[in-house]
């Protein structure tokens, strides 16, 4: 049966040691807030990326020379198309364009404008799409970050690219990628292969890489092996490899932040050590008095359980709530930039709401029971001594 007075006594005990308990509460709050925020951001971004990975090509082929990526001859496309199981082969032209005025790198991606589903696909992911402009040559679709930077530099309708020979290439803006794709599209400029080649000074028979569609996922690894044998100078990357690589990047970035988090964790363990290494003489005396007036060991431990439970439980609930608010309502200011790439164009995307119970339980079991145990164990030691010994 729940003992209200015992619970009230535990509350008053927390109040009596207010300064110490407020300090523990604050450390506990910061610790769980940081930990849960990191997990929430990382989970959201992994979720966002998993959505992107679905749209990635099944196989990507890059040519390497001395370990560096080189352009590939376009005539390999035909040979790749002949491999059984491959439904579509797309040569890609892409690279980075440095826009000096903003100190930013844009990712310029060329596409085959005559590909059957291209226009239809583009319309699905583009806002403010102007099909009249798009149907002409020398047009591009840009990410939101690119659009903002260009507008700041008075390029709201077109942009003049500087070619390697110093000439200008004027490309009109036909649309902007939708906000929901901003994590992937923020710094992207999508234009025709011909325009991309011109901007990068590439030859007409060269592409940056080649992508393949393989309708049967079970055949992907077999086809990848075949290509590796056909073209030993190429690196063959499957969709699965890319997925692992994306996850690793985010795990790695979580790791960087988790290492900072160790400072908070260290403080927490000092508290745990302080708690578990013994009680103050006042606390021991109080336990002695409680026993002397008829409290059983179980009553004392229940009071300590309430105390530790209230403190750590409140800190846990409050910090998880704050963390959800911080990550999903405020969109994780400061912390988010640790996770969102190297680009100067910070994506202004909304973190998708991904809170899984497993993560919350993991954080709970790594902190709350640990603190409760560290509180109860020394109290149990004191409570098992003769009360007379403790009081004297």
């Amino acid at each position: 049966m729940f003992n209200l007075f015992l619970f009230e006594y535990a509350l008053s005990s927390l109040k009596r040691r207010g300064a110490k308990n407020i300090f523990i509460f604050v450390i506990f709050f910061i610790l769980i807030f940081l930990l849960s925020s990191i997990f929430f951001i990382s989970n959201s971004m992994k979720y966002e990326l998993s959505q992107t990975v679905d749209a990635l090509p099944d196989i990507t082929i890059q040519k390497l020379e001395a370990g560096r990526e080189q352009n590939i001859d376009i005539d390999r496309v035909d040979k790749l198309s002949e491999i059984p199981g491959v439904s579509e082969v797309s040569p890609r032209v892409w690279g980075y364009y440095y826009f000096k005025n903003a100190g930013a790198n844009f990712v310029v991606v060329g596409v085959d404008r005559f590909s059957p589903n291209y226009k239809k696909s583009i319309q699905k992911v583009v806002d403010k799409f102007d099909s009249v402009i798009f149907d002409n040559n020398d047009t591009m679709i840009v990410g939101k970050g690119v659009k903002d930077i260009l507008e700041k530099n008075y390029y709201d309708k077109y942009f003049n690219f500087i070619k390697p020979n110093g000439d200008l290439k004027k490309i009109k803006i036909a649309g902007t990628f939708k906000g929901s794709t901003v994590l992937e599209s923020n710094d992207i400029i999508l234009l025709s292969n011909e325009n991309a080649r011109e901007i990068f000074g590439m030859k007409d028979d060269e592409v940056t890489d080649i992508t393949l569609r393989v309708p049967n996922p079970k055949e992907v690894s077999k086809i990848a092996s075949k290509i590796t044998i056909m073209y030993p100078d190429c690196r063959v990357i499957t969709k699965n490899d890319l997925e692992i690589s994306y996850n690793n990047i985010f795990d790695y970035k979580s790791g960087i932040f988790l290492s900072l988090f160790i400072v908070a964790l260290f403080t927490f363990f000092i508290i745990i050590y302080d708690k578990s290494s013994g009680l103050s003489s006042d606390e021991k005396r109080e336990i002695g008095v409680q026993k002397a007036v008829g409290w059983r060991i179980g009553d004392i431990l229940l009071q300590k359980f309430y105390e530790a439970g209230i403190l750590s439980g409140m800190a846990f609930v409050l910090s998880i709530t704050f963390s959800i608010f911080y990550v999903y309502i405020l969109n994780a200011p400061i912390l988010r930039s640790v996770f969102t790439g190297y680009s100067i164009l910070k994506p202004a995307f909304k973190l998708p709401f991904v809170v899984d119970l497993q993560t919350i339980m993991l954080i709970f079991f790594a902190t709350v029971p640990l603190y409760i145990a560290a509180t109860i164990v020394p109290s149990w030691f004191a409570a098992t001594l003769d009360a007379d010994e403790v009081i004297r």
């Binding site: 049966m1 007075f5 015992l6 109080e286 002695g288 026993k291 008829g294 409290w295 009553d299 009081i391």
Partner: protein, 222 residues
Amino acid sequence: MIKVTKVNKVFNQGKINETVALKDISFEVKDGELAILKGPSGSGKSTILSIIAALLKPTSGDVEVDGKKIAKLPDNFASLYRRENIGFIFQKFNLIPTLSVFENVILPLIPSNLSKQEIEQKAKQSMEKFSIYHKKDDLAKNLSGGEQQRVAIARALVNNPKIILADEPTANLDAKLSSSFLEFVKELHSEKKTILIATHDPIFFGLDFVSSEIEIIKGVMK
């Protein structure tokens, strides 16, 4: 009835600092009697009280309270026994200084799972009886010595115990407060409580309502 039979207590047995605190102590205090345990400081009086309250286990010998052997009671049973039978007034009062008077007084009632009304009523009665109710919200640490003692008595009696043990109850009080404590004792005695007071204060010696005086010197009964 309290029956102490051949009780011995050795502290730090077998160690270099071994101390014999009590040697073959035997006596009886009948129901409703008031007994005085007298002797100089360090003679073992407090140790006997602690053993009777089951706060301490004797090295050998027996202690019976109302026919039940309590000397070797397991810890949890010892706590229950104290809660139901013993009101202990400690020499230094042993109040919790950061709790209010009310919170100190209800301390023995908290684990008993009584209703809020019952606890408040019992505490009020006990505080009123010892004229400390007007200070119920004050912290124990802010009270005078006399007030602290009255809180300690109110706490010891809030459970209406059959047996009251008092360890040097006047050691920290002036002559006036000591006399007033004596009045409390008289009143409790008239309520047929069994009272055992360990003291070396002469104020308690030779009183007509005291049933017996047991003298202990260096752990041995005289």
